[in-house]
Symmetry: D2
Subunit: 104 residues, 4 copies
């Protein structure tokens, strides 16, 4: 049952081959959040702080979109081929995740 | 010209009295971004990673909303009272900042 | 008490001078929503339907940003000048409205 | 080649079996947009207009999330099973659609 193993808690996931790239992007985002703390500590003008918050949010959303794409390409596609009785469940949790992203 | 000084690059801003609280919130967000890196490094299931991205985005947007509110209460209100000829400009940049938040 | 009258339920509001322009924009959005119904009725490809949904959402958000800007310029600024004891309340409801926009 | 036909410009799509329900939801949204025009025409308080804009945006996004889910369940899953060489392309356009929704 390759399909189920693929989605086990400890196994490989859609994004796994790009793990290093994702961690690198998140490290950059972490640095941007630290930069935001300095901006506030330095009494930077509110509007410039807000511009930076938008940039970080955009970077985070872009990571999320990448993960959603790889989830579709690997996990959803894999369920369709190898594990069709779990396809509905898998699509259901993916759409709920997209809904949470849209609400945040 | 209190109105103009308030908005100088180095002066006090609407959020200044709450600086410590904002920095504390951003430090927590920084920790959440580090947690995200660990989740990816540990091959956490994509959907759980996405849930965490949504939580961080929500926390960041909440910081942004707080800053916008204090910007209105202090900077916009101050311009209205002490510096009316700059009110249009100030409201214009605040609405552009809100637009950027909505687009991110 | 010009400040209070301006915000009465039946009075003039920040957007009132641009009423016709707003109604015109909303009529166009209404037409776009009708177009969406035709797209679905014609079995248009899902992705093209989604592109149209994004366009409508963007148009609606742009109306909202315009209203927020005029609310700041007129209602918030007016409260700051003529009705300072209600400024907090007015800014509070404006930030809550922005928060709802970000969550939608 | 069922997979390709399913995605032809004129054929059935993931949402087709729920066409009537989608059109009904969009008709309700159309009515809400008309209600918004009346609110502005009646000089309704800006914040109440904004609350209504948020409600409409939420309803539209919810339609979009439904379409994305059915796109995954039918078109993506179908490509995975019957048309694997187009899977990348199909996932690519779906993620771009989600990105546009997040930016709007």
């Amino acid at each position: 049952m390759a399909g189920m193993e693929t989605e086990s808690a400890t196994g490989e996931h859609g994004y796994s081959p790009d793990k290093d790239a994702y961690i690198k992007r998140l490290r950059r985002i972490e640095g941007q959040v630290r930069g935001l703390q300095r901006m506030i500590d330095d009494d930077t003008y509110c509007i410039d702080v807000l511009t930076q918050v938008s940039a970080i949010t955009k970077a985070l959303q872009s990571v999320a979109v990448g993960l959603v794409g790889q989830h579709m390409k690997h996990c959803v596609a894999n369920a369709a081929t190898n594990d069709p009785e779990h396809l509905d469940e898998m699509v259901g949790e993916a759409t709920k995740a997209i809904e949470r992203l849209l609400r945040s």
